[in-house]
Subunit: 453 residues, 2 copies
């Protein structure tokens, strides 16, 4: 039996983290380090990202450790000394984390999060930090576009079956909700994170009955106020059967909506709306699903299709147009010195940093990435959320609060960044003079092989 | 604390599965059903898929259940009757699973797996079956292309940091190994699935030292036979430092390779090879990484770049060109009758099925999807792997055996399907006359609202 205890995730790391730790251990390199997490450039189809995943990451960091089985496995690799493995068995993360609050819109090169801890501690969590922060940031950023396209209509997450594994589906439902999706079909996410859950029936329910009318009759015995799926055999015949049901039941008819899952959704929604209205069922909602992405939703909304809500699955579930970010977690400070590398195309801003976001009457107008000790105009985005390896009480946040915060933040962006089309002129992100100077100094020092500041 | 016990995954389901179960329960619909898992059409960039994920799925099915907390959560939704929740608390999966062995190449419309069980049991596992089978099938299929492009050179999985969550990274490493990748950086996957692990150092290790030479010196004290990362500041200077180290250490020098992670990899590999050879280090291997996909690997191999191995991360990690499949799990039989739906563009082949694969002297030459009780020429691909909710002992397989089987199967495909380019003429997949006739009969019966066979 393969078990995975999410509280003992020490082994969820790349092997090279542990071989580096062995070498740090052998050389007694335990001084304080700062690592910075950032996305290099925004994907071709994103005007902004939503930073997401912090809360679940901090929970993991509080519990990050190696159990006896883990140590036995590592010993079996014949790559680690016994004294190092003893040290690792007692390993705990005792560092500091400063981060943007979850749901904050962010941009290329801005630190989403910085870790300050003894070098081995800040090093070994790299894989976990990147994996968890990228997952939820990718999915929240995609969902924000879907929510924008729906212009206030309800959007349901139908993704779990085609998302990448259980962890992605569960944490994704949380990220979607923060980004403005209204509910998820994912029951486990509902239990674990209090995300509202939704769903009524699939085609298999209809198919299991010998006729569609009988299926509808039976289902409303259990769920009178349901949404009926009408496209299993022929969409408009399905709508007629719902109308016949309404006529038959009269005042007892309580069905709230129908769902269309195939065919030309705009055309079928129009025809269904006409039929329903003609039958006096003006309040019956029309939900649509089936291969939807934010562009298809925008087209339906802009064309005036009478659609009350959307079920969105696969495309949002894997963030199909942009399933990964150029996200990096880089050493920028160690043993009192700024650190960077000079590899082509992959610059690092050295030292601990802060991001200042400036507003005017119309909302946010630009960010500046600065050294952590600078005081610049605007709101500093990175906040201390963990100290000595424990979450700060002030950081504990309710999911609804995170969602409300995020929605408000997105509304503060200039409107053009909420459009689906990539904007030619990106949101302005500057580097402060002090940080630029420091980057130049560290870069020169590295080139000379010395580190005098 | 949010815990996730992988042995009690009942709640990893879409809410509509449970509302359907309530309705089945209310109507006493417990007769036997068959659901079939298949991919409708292959993605635009795939000539074949590798079916993968069965072993981990069967483990979950053996343990699929709802604990007291789950039932409490469901009760709180106010959507389920107490007697139904009592029934659900005692729920176990007791059905049969027939499936293609893991690592089998497969094609559009072919059943990868069929579940035969009382309707509610076969229904409620839908989300889990699809999520787990798609995850590993997507990732194994992608990795098979990467392995083909590398033409026997070593390929390492560097994906965990940018894969979609922990489950994807861990099961992905397993799927990659089956598909021919040589090892993973993912230590947890190494422990859980016995996948070989690999890795040495990151840029942060170099950066944490005041100069690169010192970093190399220190690392080989812990790992004399390592692979040194040489591109942190300037790739060819890094190579020179490795050469100086070799000259300094003489016979004690045991470094096995260098890794290049940025810049023009082909050009740098050629120059590094020249420098190393000139210094008498002909045996030193050159590994490359950094934004690689199967096309970049193919280009490096075909251009004759002196590369001994590849580290592949993000692109394979999310299967960037095709992160999801049009995979479906559909009711095809219930209560003695074939079932399908008529929704446009989404046909279902009714009844339990089998796939026969025919070989000639040159390997596989075509498949036929047939009714389960047919006996046609060729090897039947679906095997019974679970009965009465327990895995059959005959199915328990070692990971190495699965990998060897899969590698051999891929080699039996006509060579053109192993090319990266999509082939105009797909692998031939036919539907047997008997199954066609049955599909027509069931379709006509459904149109008439009756089911006489």
């Amino acid at each position: 039996m393969k078990t995975l205890n999410h509280h003992e995730l020490g082994l969820f790391t790349d092997l090279y983290e542990l071989t580096m730790l062995q070498a740090y251990y052998d050389q007694d390199m335990h001084e304080n380090a700062v690592f910075t997490l950032f996305v290099r450039e925004l994907p071709a189809t994103r005007n902004y990202l939503l930073a997401c995943g912090l809360d679940t990451l901090l929970e993991y960091l509080e519990n990050f450790s190696f159990n006896a089985d883990d140590i036995d496995y590592l010993r079996s690799l014949d790559k680690f000394s016994d004294s190092f493995l003893d040290w690792l068995h007692n390993f705990r993360f005792t560092g500091q984390v400063r981060a943007m609050p979850e749901g904050t819109p962010c941009f290329g090169h801005e630190p989403l999060l910085e870790v300050s801890a003894p070098l081995p501690q800040a090093q070994v969590i790299e894989t976990l930090v990147m994996n968890q922060m990228q997952l939820q940031t990718v999915l929240a950023s995609k969902a924000s576009r879907v929510a924008n396209a729906a212009e206030g209509r309800s959007v349901l997450d139908f993704g779990p079956r085609r998302m990448h594994g259980i962890d992605a589906a569960v944490k994704g439902a949380r990220a979607y909700y923060i980004a403005g999706i209204n509910a998820t079909s994912n029951v486990l996410a509902g239990k674990l994170y209090n995300v509202p859950v939704a769903g009524t029936m699939a085609h298999s329910y209809i198919q299991a009955h010998d006729d569609e009318q009988k299926a509808f009759d039976n289902f409303i015995k259990s769920y009178p106020q349901t949404v009926l799926l009408v496209d299993t055999f022929d969409t408009l015949s399905g709508v007629q059967k719902v109308i016949q049901l309404a006529e038959r039941l009269g005042d007892k008819f309580a069905v709230q909506g129908i769902r269309l899952d195939s065919g030309d959704l705009a055309e079928l929604a129009h025809k269904a709306r006409q039929q329903l209205n003609k039958a006096g069922l003006q309040k019956m909602q029309i939900m649509v699903s089936g291969g939807l992405d934010e562009s298809a939703i925008e087209d339906l909304v802009k064309s005036g299709a009478p659609v009350d809500g959307f079920g969105v699955g696969t495309d949002m579930g894997v963030s199909q147009d942009s399933p990964a970010l150029d996200i990096a977690y880089k050493l920028c400070y160690y043993a009192g010195k700024g650190r960077l590398k000079l590899s082509s195309g992959k610059p690092i801003l050295p030292g601990a940093k802060q991001v200042f976001r400036v507003s005017d009457n119309e909302g946010y107008c630009g960010d500046t990435i600065a050294r952590a000790d600078e005081k610049l105009p605007g709101r500093p985005l990175l906040q201390e959320v963990m100290r000595d390896g424990r979450r700060l009480a002030s950081h504990t946040q309710d999911l609804e609060d995170i969602r409300n915060y995020s929605q408000a933040q997105v509304q503060q962006l200039p409107a053009r960044f909420r459009r689906l089309q990539k904007q030619d002129t990106p949101y302005p992100v500057a580097v402060s003079d002090k940080l630029s100077t420091y980057q130049h100094q560290v870069s020169e020092a590295v080139k000379k092989g010395g580190y005098d500041e």
